[in-house]
Symmetry: C2
Subunit: 466 residues, 2 copies
Amino acid sequence: MTIESCTWAPLGRLLEPASVALVGASSNPQSLGGRTLANLRRWPGRLHLVNPHQTRIDGLACYAAIDRLPEPVDCAILAVPSTAVEEAVRQCAAGGVGSVIVFASGYAEVEGPDGREAQERLAALAGAAGMVLVGPNCVGIATHRNMLNAAFAGFPPLGIAADAPAAAAPRRLALVSQSGALALALSQAVERGVTLTHVLTCGNSAGIDVADYLAWLADQPDCDAVALAVEGLREPRRLPAALDRLAASGKPVAMCRLGHSAAGREAIRFHTATHPLAGSPVPGLPSAGAPVIDVLPIESLIETASFLAKAPRPVGRGIAILSGSGGTGILAVDAADRAGLSVPQPASTTQDRLRRCLPDFAPVRNPCDVTAQSTRHPTLLLEAADALLDDAACTALLVPWGRSQSADLFQPLSALACRHGKPVVLAWMSPVPRLEMVATVERDPFLAPFASLDSACRALAGWIGR
Amino acid sequence: MTIESCTWAPLGRLLEPASVALVGASSNPQSLGGRTLANLRRWPGRLHLVNPHQTRIDGLACYAAIDRLPEPVDCAILAVPSTAVEEAVRQCAAGGVGSVIVFASGYAEVEGPDGREAQERLAALAGAAGMVLVGPNCVGIATHRNMLNAAFAGFPPLGIAADAPAAAAPRRLALVSQSGALALALSQAVERGVTLTHVLTCGNSAGIDVADYLAWLADQPDCDAVALAVEGLREPRRLPAALDRLAASGKPVAMCRLGHSAAGREAIRFHTATHPLAGSPVPGLPSAGAPVIDVLPIESLIETASFLAKAPRPVGRGIAILSGSGGTGILAVDAADRAGLSVPQPASTTQDRLRRCLPDFAPVRNPCDVTAQSTRHPTLLLEAADALLDDAACTALLVPWGRSQSADLFQPLSALACRHGKPVVLAWMSPVPRLEMVATVERDPFLAPFASLDSACRALAGWIGR
């Protein structure tokens, strides 16, 4: 297979269904079927339940079997044990169902040939019927646009937060994660102000894989950038092809590949049993269009994607560092060094401007420390930021954010970033950042928050380094 | 100077004063003098104010000058501009004051000889009088035992949190940070349940340095371990000597050295102007006694110190990983690999025990994934933890902590850790951990929380690697 020959699964009936069947619907709110039913209740489409042992659940009629459904549904969610999955997939294929989501585990990830063969039978059944197969061993999917939450995981509410200011037009991220548990953990970033519009998982990827999701997202208007956590694919070369599509459509991608260690790749064999991607470079990453950045560790994934969604094209290679204390400035330049970032000294005109605004005892250099005086005179920081952003050698400004710095500075810093066309990145120094402050920065289109200096510097290096 | 010849400043009059004078006391709550006065009000000792322009501030009498004070105070805090510092230090020395804290900046950290010479004069004045000098360019100190907060920074309340369970006997950390802004940021870890009893800063370290603080802490009963953030000392070899004292007294140290990069060391010259420590190994780290671990990045400092305060001696070199999902297990083993940790496969008896408790489709190996079944059957995790901790090759258990895992597991996990004499380390996978959950784990004497897998693995590697 060449990259050019890649084809992508048609995901319309899966991700924009008019009708959904939940097979294994349950009135027990702790069960997979019960949790999925609760998640589906906000979805406004035609929802049908299948359960041979009940006539109604939660006010909805139950059908005794898949072949009794009143229509060939766009998507069937199989919340049934693995022993019942194959027959259910067979009935879905026979009944013209558009897509199936298989939660059950116990397939290729289990030692021995049985699970792998069972998984191959599911893929063959779905493939022969032209039916999209998600999973097995997955937690499902959620999209904001049509309020679909076809998952047993407790994903947070997607879309623009209810308490977001009306003026904000936040960047919208899609989260694509092969692992459901990681998708659940990472999606909690909405509590930090991140706007997620899609959470898409695929588990063992017997049918569709992360590449199918990426290719589909390239065409979605409510996705500005993608955060991707991936173990492997059946055919790893599909990944660069899909990343190419996203890059060409102007959507940057932050990507965390699992299995960097040999032990990690061995563990993948016992998890999704896909072909691991890490350990070697992904062949043929896009060289043009929006950036694709390899992220490590996983904690940096969402904030890096969000930064990429906001950042304009870099205009140079150097960054300026502006701190409210000497210690945090030193830590920042150490982190910049670890990330391979250039921290050039300011031009003489910039130095003159800094000299005019800083206290006598503050050094006129990069990193620039406005000293504790800035807590009494907050505009010091803004004047220095303006001078540094104006320097031709500065393509982004990194500000270690201390506990005593005021949220009143966010709006003027954002205005400066906008005017200079250069991102201003705030790295929180506190081990317990105030979530509402981080969210304010996150929702700003010109500022980007990071939980650590290293995370910020690696993101800047990836963005500049293309 | 040899290490053996190091002498340590007598810090009793600084850190356990009976009388304190605040020079530059102010009724303006935004000023250095006003903020320091507010911080001092909980201290029960004899507090005197010096301000030539006012007769009373906040109900306390003001003296016109240092030489009018009613007694030779143990500690004088100089919240005055740098232009007034030298004369104030001279008066303190003449008046038998025990120690002075100098907040003002504009000394050795400023380019040119003037600042350095001014700083040397302060050191000479204090030295000749046998007076302890803290600073200049520092934010002050705080100790829990005598409720002293002699700082202009807004340190959080020290000591055991009011809402901590009565049964808990948390480990007590001292935070020693040359940089005041870092001390302020790091001290916020009390909101995560960390018990801090001392926050000690020294800025430019013209008089006492971090080594003096460390040597003093070796003898303090309310300090179980130390977190140290340091740029440099006048005489760097004093540091290993002080670390030796702490190690010999059984108090582990987590140490973050600033200035790992050349640019960082250059920035130190413009900050505290001390001799940088990073970039080369600290000579002669203790080889016996409690561990001293180099920590990077700074975010890991407090949680590593807290872990060391709890961890017994390692009984082997391998760790076991126990996850509620395959993805987080893979990430954990990748992080272990980056930290150089060994993740050995379980012994056959351990495998038998795991096989009996895990679902059929879960792999019987290390990393051990109890799968999503554990959200419905939480005791799965405990049974697997017991089996893994019982394995002779396991010296600690690392658990990536997912969003869907229950706080009800903390107490039984703690009991297992206690019984096996091996620490159980929980690494939070959520980007927005619930603080009350983290605090519960933090206050537990047998469990240790970490904000990331890499931070946990580096701490484990440092602990095992001695």
